[in-house]
């Protein structure tokens, strides 16, 4: 690590001095942490962009870049990824990096890419930070660190439980780990770094790790075992990602925040029970949880709105009504349409007796029932009745007082209507005439 050819070092964020693997990730981080509107959570592209947005849309002025370290809060400086960083600061950074790498050289005897997973390295690993430049690893993490070298996955879990249980405040440091890890862990809480090293592979799973880990990771000495268990444990816990965020969601993985938001959006939509496998899962990595006991407690307020359309994956009809902390579908919980639901009510079924259905409850059908028989008695008025369907078709239309308030020019009334019903205007005039309604 620490390739010096890339723009003098790995991409790093000018606002908070964090390191990242990739400029793309750096930009995502900036958008999510520094260029995000605190009012509407819209992500802008630059500091000045954010200032303009707040002014135009919310009529608010903003004078410093959010989440920036002191000295780097200038909102007028147009920085995008690595572009726009003042040369002075670039040099300062380079110098600091060199210093740190010198320190870590002194501290560890071997190279930084330590991949053994033997216990031998315990004492070595103690003071040094594998894959991490400088930074004094917390003593507590010493042992785990050694192991961490190996299976990144396993390693991470190891860290987490300790970190999580031991020092919640450490968490915030994790996200940065993911990207920047080894080289410049400036500002990274010590001890977090090793985790960072593991992070990249685990990134999506990160949030889930703390959740899944504790059960596995209780005793640290048992690391090696845990490592394996962790690896296994990690996967299933991944889907629990959004859930696992007990309130440390926000600061946790800034760059993953975006992914996380979407994920929580995804998970949110099928959170709670029975979420079946989303047919077009936006995040295929998340095979669906059996862990769904977690109701999405994602504190991401914007997931409801940020989630891109596909993110609210509703899987199978069974889970149609998706409920989450951020959104709720106002629709009954079944795979049938509202009309089908309503049509199942007995009151709407009584009028289809012709088919011989048993639904017809004659009694309730007061007036209608009354009318029907009458119509039956009437001579079929349908000259054109062709269907074998009972003559009722002809009858009902005329039966109900038609609305003919006073001259009905376009629609002839008279004879075809059927004398008994054709009360003519008087009948039609009365709105209350809509007796059929009364039957309800």
């Amino acid at each position: 690590m620490g390739r010096k050819k890339k723009k003098q070092m790995k991409p790093w964020c000018w606002y908070c001095n964090r390191d990242f693997d990739d400029e793309k990730i750096l930009i995502q981080h900036q958008k999510a942490k520094h260029f995000k509107c605190h009012i509407c959570h819209k992500k802008l592209y630059t500091g000045p962009g954010l200032a303009i947005h707040c002014m135009q849309v919310h009529k608010e002025t903003i004078d410093s870049v959010p989440n920036a370290i002191p000295g780097r809060v200038d909102i007028e400086l147009e920085i995008y990824g690595m572009e726009g960083i003042p040369e002075k600061d670039m040099q300062e950074r380079r110098r600091t990096l060199e210093q740190k790498s010198q320190e870590s050289q002194k501290k560890k005897s071997s190279n930084q890419d330590d991949t053994d997973d033997d216990d031998d390295d315990d004492d070595e690993a103690g003071p040094s930070v594998q894959q991490v430049a400088a930074v004094q690893p917390q003593a507590g993490y010493a042992a785990p660190m050694a192991q961490l070298g190996m299976p990144p996955v396993a390693g991470v879990p190891g860290m987490h439980p300790g970190a999580y249980q031991g020092m919640p405040p450490m968490m915030p440091g994790v996200p940065p780990m993911m990207h920047g890890m080894p080289p410049a862990m400036h500002g990274m809480p010590p001890g977090m770094m090793p985790m960072g090293g593991m992070m990249p592979p685990m990134m999506p799973g990160m949030p889930g790790i703390p959740h899944g880990m504790p059960p596995h990771m209780a005793p640290r000495p048992g690391m090696p075992h845990m490592a394996q268990a962790a690896a296994a444990g990690v996967i299933p816990s991944r889907p629990a990602l959004p859930v696992a965020q007990p309130a440390v969601t926000k600061p946790l993985f800034p760059s993953a925040a975006q992914a996380q938001q979407s994920t929580s959006g995804v998970a949110a939509s099928h959170s709670t029970a029975a979420s079946s496998d989303p047919p077009k899962a936006t995040f295929p990595a998340y095979t669906l949880p059996s862990v769904s006991s977690c109701s999405s407690t994602s504190s991401n307020p914007s997931s409801g709105t940020v989630a891109k359309p596909p993110a609210t994956v509703a899987t199978k009809p069974a889970t149609l009504t998706t409920t989450s902390a951020t959104s709720k579908l106002i629709h009954p919980d079944e795979d049938i349409s509202l009309e089908e639901m309503k049509a199942q009510l007995p009151r709407y079924q009584r009028l289809t007796p012709r088919q011989g259905q048993a639904h017809v409850a004659a009694p309730p059908v007061v007036s209608v029932g009354g009318i029907m028989p009458q119509q039956q008695g009437m001579p079929p008025q349908q000259p054109g009745m062709r269907h074998p369907m009972h003559g009722q078709y002809g009858a009902p239309p005329q039966g109900m007082p038609s609305y003919m308030p006073g001259g009905m020019p376009p629609y002839g009334q008279g004879p075809p209507m059927g004398p008994p019903y054709q009360g003519g205007p008087p009948m039609g005039m009365r709105p209350p005439v809509m007796s059929p309604a009364g039957r309800y």
């Binding site: 579908l329 106002i330 009954p332 509202l338 062709r386 038609s402 039609g428 309800y440």
Partner: protein
Amino acid sequence: MSLFGTTSGFGAGGTGVFGNATTDSHNPMKDVEVTSPPDDSISCLAFSPPTMPGNFLIGGSWANDVRCWEVQDNGQTVPKAQQMHTGPVLDVCWSDDGSKVFTASCDKTAKMWDLNSNQAMQIAQHDGPIKAIHWIKAPNYSCIMTGSWDKTLKFWDTRSPNPMMSLQMPERCYCADVVYPMAVVATADRGLIVYQLENQPSEFRRIDSPLKHQHRCVAIFKDKQNKPTGFALGSIEGRVAIHYINPPNPAKDNFTFKCHRSNGTNTTTPQDIYAVNAISFHPVHGTLATVGSDGRFSFWDKDARTKLKTSEQLDQPITACCFNSNGNIFAYASSYDWSKGHEYYNPQKKNYIFLRNAAEELKPRNKKW
């Protein structure tokens, strides 16, 4: 034709059967109320085609009736006639010449209502409630298309008791729209099928749904040359997808937008997401209106991808909407759609149909991109 002159006085609307009371939330937009609305939820609305002089509105309801009103230029509505089915009416449509109205019902039949003689006769039969009915006027044939919960799509020559054609669908028909030569049917389980109607109806393409929730309503839109080119599909999840059949760049041209949701900017409380109950396109401007279970209607410009207007919230869901033939009138119906289940049904609550002047509010925005 300027339907409603000034905006004054139409609170009084119609023949004054409902003295417009203080505007409680049943009509926050102060639109004209149609007189003698049905006594149960209104399932569908349809205005007469341009071939007929005047505006006649047909509304089908769960009270098993289909009512016809004449809408006069001054905004007054006059009830004209009514027909009954033996089950709730789910859909209505007009023939192209405006002489007949076709009605589809839960009683598994569809009827043709001759308005001149005020007679209705059965013209279709299904094994399940008929959810969608449309008139097809092709150069070489005319027929009625009915989509039913029995998973079939049938085409009927109104003169014969047997269907001219019957197509099997993967699932129950939930909604359909026809603009010759294209027909779109959305079914349960998020099915979406496009049919072409030239010569004879045939299945054209099955489309993967752009939406992730149950389909609820669909409406076809046309391009500048007045040819059907795509459709808008609404789901129960407060979202509408605009989908073109053969776009030059599907990824960019097709899109979805969210609508009928509460708590737009307030993120501390859960957002309520409502179903989109109906979509209608303005016949002249090509802009669209959506109505939802949240009791609001919204106007949108799909080309500029912007919202034109959202109404105030009515106290009941809006279940149906339609534009008249020249686009001056927008009709929408306020009644309970069962979105909150049986518990919220109040049979005492009145159902309304409102008419609004649509000439100005649906003008497209200038494109920004």
